[in-house]
Symmetry: C2
Subunit: 550 residues, 2 copies
C-alpha cells in the first residue's frame, strides 16, 4: 500500500483554512498515487486548541469539518486528527481522536490513550483517555494507529514509566502490519534526537514499520518542526522528512519493508544552534502571518540581543518589513551608535533614531518634588528603559508594526530587565535562548550570511548603558557560569542544594537561584516566549509567585 | 471523640513557617481537649505549590517537615496534608496525601483519588491518583479520610460525572464512623453554596457525620475563604466556621451525632458582593504580607475603579500604607480632581498630584518627525496612559511601594485598556470584577463605611479622560448588557452563537465576543488577578493567542 505523510502548517481554530489545506493535501497525495494519507494530531483544529475545546460550538464545528473532509476521500483514504465527544456519562467529555475517512464516510475512530500533562501539555484538562486499543484496518492492512504520546511510554525516564501501560504492547500483535503515529510534538533543540531514538527502539522491539507524521509551524510560543519519518524494523530510519517546512511524501509499504516512492536528498539542521535558528525564524514568521500582520518594529541598542533579533526578523519577514529604532540617551556610547548603524546597513532595513533625553528629563523634573532628598538608584535606569518602551509602543500603535521583544533567557531568569521597559513586546524572540547561545547564534548567522552582524557587536562586553561605564557583570555573574547554573536549575529541575557547576560556589548558586525565584512576578507579565529548549519560561514552567522558595 | 478542625493561613514553600503554625495549632487543640486535629490539604507546603513539586529537594523538605510535626503529636493525633512519593516505578512520582500522625510517628497515609484538572487545577501534572481507598482508624473510630476533590463526584455536572468512580462509595461502609475531608478549595462567590449542597447531600446519602476543613488565605491569585464545616447526616450543617479568618474549632463526635464543644454565633457574608469584598481585602493583604511588603501606591483617576481599589487597599493595609497619586492631563476634568480629593480626604491616605503634561509633550515632540502627516489616533491616548504608568512605577521603584492595578474585568475582557499603561501593576485587584459589580461593591462599602466613596464618583458616567468629552460608551456597549454577554461567554463558556441576552443583538454579541478573543494577547501580559468568580482570567482560562476564533 502507498501511504502518504502530510506534514502541514495549521492555524488554530481556523477550520475553513485547515479543511481546505487538508483537502488539498488529499488531492495531491491521490494525484501522486497514494492510497492512504495521514495528517498530524488535531490537524482539523490545530494544536493546541486549549480552552476552545470547552466551547460546544467549537466541537460542533470540528465534527462538521471532519465530515466535510470525508467528502474529499474518494479513491483515497485519509487519517485526520480532531476532538470527538465521549458519549458516556462518566469521565471527561472529549477524546483526542484520529479518524479514518474512506469513501465519504468516517470508517473508524481511534482515541488517544496516553495523555501528556507535563511541561506545556494539559491534555487531561480536556480529554478522557481511551480505555481500549483496537487495530484499524484499511485494504487488508492492519494498522496500529496511535496519537503522539501513545508511543512515548516505551522506555523509562529517570527509572520511571509515566504511564501504567503501553498502547503499542496491546496494538502490536502478530497480525499487525505497521504502526502509524499522528503527532503534534513541540520543538526543542534536543527533541528530534529523542524522537528518533524512541521510534527506532519501538520499530525494532515490535518488528514493524513505523510511520510518524508531525505538525509543522508555530502557534504562539510552541513551534512544530516537522521531521516526520519512516522507520523500518530492521534498517532503522528509512526516510526523514524536512524540518521547518511543509512537505507531503509517499511511501510504499510491502510486507515489513517500506521505502519512499521518490527518494529525496535533504539536508537537515545538524546541531542545536542551527535548529534554534530555523525554529526562531519560523516562530516569528508564523506569529505575524497567522495574525495577518506584516511588519515589525524593534529597539536597537547596539548590543547583541537586539542585533540578533533584527537579523532573525529580517530573515522571517523580509528586511523591508522590519523597522529598527535606536533610542539613545546620554549614556549611549559612540561605539553602540556606530555598531547599530553598521548593522542596519548590512540588514538593509529602515532605521530611525529618537533621543529619549527630552522624555526622561521631563519625567525626572515631574518627579523632582516627590523624590527630593533621595539618591539616584535603579529608578532612573528604569525610567530610561520605560521611556524607550513608550516611544516604541507609540510607533507600533501609529504605524501598525508589532513590537518585538529582545530579552534573552539569562536576563528573564535573573530579572535583569525592566517590566514595561525592555521587557515589552508582543513576542519574546530570545526568551528561551541563554546569553551564551545568543552569541553562538550570532556567530552561526555570520557563517551563513558573511559578516551580517558586525564583529564588534559580538566581541565587546555587554552593557545596558543605563549609567556611566555600566557592564552586565556589575550585576550578574559571568554568563558562562550563570547560564550553566540556570540550566541546572531550570532545564534539569535540580534543587539549589543539588546544583554543582565548576566555578560556582554554593553561595553563588544560591544567589543565582534566589534571583530566578524572586523574579517570577516579572516573568508573569512577559510576552509569550518562543520555546526552543526542553524547559522554557511560560506555560511549561508553572512556579508560584507569592511563595518562599527553598 | 473530640475532633478539631484547624483552618489556617499557610505560606507556599515556607515550610518552617507552616510547620510552626501547624505545631502551634496542635498544641492549642490539645490544650482545649481535642484528641484529633485536622489541617487542610497540602498544609505542610501550602496550596498550590505548583512546579515546586518537581524539585526533589522540595519533596525531601516536605518529608522532613511531616516527621517534624509528628514529634508534636503526643497525647493528640493530627492529620496533615503533604506530597508523598510514589514508590512504584509506573505512574507519576508523587501522591497528594493526608498523613495521620500519632505518638511521634506517621501512623497512616491516605492518597487523594480524584485529582482535579480543570479551571485553575493542574493536579494530574504532579500526582498519581490513589488506586485503593482504605478506612483510617484512630481510637476505634473508623474514618473515611478524603482529600478535597475526593468528595466532589457525588452529583453529575451537566449530566456528567467527571470521574469514573466515587471514593465515598468505597469508603462509606457499615463500619465507617465519619467522613473527614481536608481541602484547599479556592473561593468564588458561588463556591460556598456549592460546597454546602454537595456535603449535605453526601452526609445524608452515606448517613455519616462529615467534617470539612478548608484552607484560609490568599496565594497570589487564588483566595481560600475557610468556611470549614461539620454536617450531621440527619440534621444538616451543625456548624459553619468563619470565613476569611483563621479559626480552630472542636467538635464532639459520639455515634452518628456531632456537636461543637463551644457553640459560637458567627455572622457570615450573606451575598456575592459581601463575599467578594472580604475576598479582595484578604487577597490584597496576603499579597503584601506574604511578600514581606507594607505599602501600596496607586494611580487615582477620579473614577470608580481606582476609588474602589483605594478603599479596599486602605482596609487591607491600613490607610497610612496607601499612597494615592493623581496624574492629571489637559483632559482631566475639574470634577475628577474634586472627586479624587474628596475621596483621599475620606480615606485619610497620602496624596500626590503629578501632571503628565511635561512628559507627554516631550514624547509628542520626540515623535513629531516620525509621525509627520499622520492624524492623532489612539496612539496619543496610549502615550498618556503609559506616561502615567512610567511615573507610578518610578514612585514604586524609588519608595518601595507596590503598584496596584485598577483595571476591571469588563475592561480586561474587551481590551479597553493600555498595555504597559493602565494595565500595569503587581496585582490586579478588580480583574475578576465586572464593571457592574464594581458599582455594587462601591455601594456596599458606602453602607458599611458611610459615604466613604463620594457619591458623584458612583453616579457620573465613566470616562477614561484621554480625549475631550470621552465616555466609555463611545467604545463599549452599555455595561449592563456588556457584562451579561461577557458572563455568558466567559463564566458559562457558551459559544458565540449560543449566547442569548436581552438587549443584545446577534451582531452585538459577535462584536463583544470578537473583542474578548482579539485581546487575549493583552491579558497574557496582565498582572495576576485576584480570582473571585468561577472563571477568572489567568490560569483558569487558557485560550490560544495566535488563533482564529469562531
Amino acid at each position: 500500500m502507498k501511504i502518504a505523510l502530510a506534514q502541514l502548517n495549521y492555524h488554530i481554530g481556523n477550520l475553513p483554512y485547515n479543511v481546505a489545506k487538508i483537502k488539498n493535501g488529499i488531492l495531491r497525495a491521490k494525484s501522486e498515487g497514494a492510497e492512504l494519507v495521514a495528517f498530524s494530531e488535531l490537524s482539523v483544529c490545530g494544536y493546541p486548541p486549549k480552552d476552545l475545546l470547552l466551547h460546544d460550538g467549537f466541537i460542533r464545528a470540528c465534527e462538521d469539518a471532519v465530515k466535510d473532509i470525508a467528502q474529499e476521500c474518494k479513491g483515497i483514504a485519509a487519517i485526520v486528527g480532531a476532538p470527538a465527544r465521549n458519549e458516556k456519562h462518566k469521565g471527561k467529555s472529549l477524546f483526542n481522536s484520529a479518524f479514518l475517512l474512506v469513501d465519504g464516510q468516517i470508517a473508524a475512530q481511534v482515541n488517544k490513550t496516553l495523555l501528556p500533562f507535563y511541561d506545556v501539555f494539559d491534555e487531561y484538562r480536556y480529554f478522557e483517555p481511551a480505555e481500549e486499543n483496537e487495530l484499524m484496518e484499511y485494504k487488508s492492512v492492519k494498522i496500529a494507529l496511535t496519537v503522539c504520546e501513545d508511543v512515548w511510554n516505551e522506555r523509562p525516564l529517570n527509572d520511571r514509566y509515566l504511564y501504567k501501560h503501553s498502547s503499542l504492547e496491546t496494538l502490536c500483535t502478530p497480525d499487525t502490519n505497521c504502526i502509524i503515529n499522528i503527532a503534534a510534538s513541540p520543538f526543542s533543540y534536543i527533541h528530534s534526537e529523542e524522537r528518533k531514538q524512541i521510534f527506532e527502539t519501538s520499530a525494532s522491539r515490535y518488528k514493524l514499520p513505523f510511520f510518524y507524521v508531525n505538525a509543522l509551524g508555530a502557534n504562539t510560543d510552541l513551534i512544530f518542526d516537522g521531521g516526520s519519518m519512516v522507520i523500518a524494523s530492521n534498517e532503522g530510519i528509512v526516510d526523514e522528512m524536512s524540518y521547518f517546512t511543509e512537505e507531503i511524501s509517499i511511501y510504499e509499504l510491502s510486507g515489513k519493508s517500506v521505502k519512499p516512492v521518490k527518494p529525496q536528498k535533504r539536508s537537515h539542521p545538524q546541531n542545536h544552534i542551527e535548529r534554534i535558528y530555523h525554529a526562531l525564524v519560523l516562530g516569528i514568521r508564523d506569529y505575524f502571518q497567522k495574525n495577518n500582520l506584516t511588519s515589525a518594529v524593534l529597539g536597537l541598542s547596539g548590543g547583541i540581543d537586539s542585533a540578533l533579533v533584527l537579523a532573525l526578523t529580517a530573515e522571517a519577514l523580509g528586511s523591508k518589513n522590519v523597522h529598527a529604532v535606536m533610542l539613545p540617551s546620554r549614556y549611549t556610547s559612540e561605539e553602540s551608535l556606530k555598531d547599530a548603524g553598521e548593522l542596519v546597513m548590512n540588514i538593509g532595513c529602515s532605521y530611525d533614531s529618537i533621543s529619549i533625553e527630552p522624555g526622561i528629563n521631563a519625567a525626572y523634573s515631574s518627579l523632582a518634588d516627590a523624590f527630593k532628598g533621595r539618591q539616584a538608584d535603579v529608578t532612573e535606569e528604569n525610567i530610561q528603559s520605560r521611556m524607550r518602551a513608550l516611544l516604541l509602543m507609540a510607533i507600533s500603535n501609529k504605524m501598525g508594526y508589532l513590537l518585538l521583544n529582545t530579552s534573552n533567557k539569562s536576563e528573564l531568569a535573573t530579572g535583569y530587565g525592566t517590566l514595561y521597559g525592555d521587557m515589552s513586546g508582543a513576542l519574546s524572540v530570545l526568551g528561551d535562548v541563554y546569553k551564551t547561545q545568543v552569541y553562538e547564534l550570532a556567530r552561526y548567522i555570520n557563517t551563513i550570511k558573511k559578516g551580517l552582524i558586525p564583529s564588534n557587536i559580538i566581541t565587546r562586553p555587554p552593557s545596558a548603558e543605563l549609567k556611566p561605564n555600566q557592564k552586565d557583570t556589575d550585576s550578574l555573574p559571568d554568563y558562562d557560569i550563570l547560564d550553566k547554573v540556570l540550566h541546572e536549575y531550570i532545564e534539569m529541575e535540580k534543587s539549589q542544594i543539588d546544583i554543582k557547576v565548576d566555578g560556582a560556589s554554593p553561595e553563588l548558586v544560591k544567589r543565582i537561584v534566589d534571583m530566578v525565584n524572586r523574579n517570577e512576578y516579572k516573568r508573569k507579565q512577559s510576552p509569550p516566549i518562543l520555546r526552543v529548549s526542553p524547559k522554557a519560561f511560560g506555560s511549561g514552567r508553572r512556579m508560584p509567585i507569592v511563595a518562599k522558595y527553598i
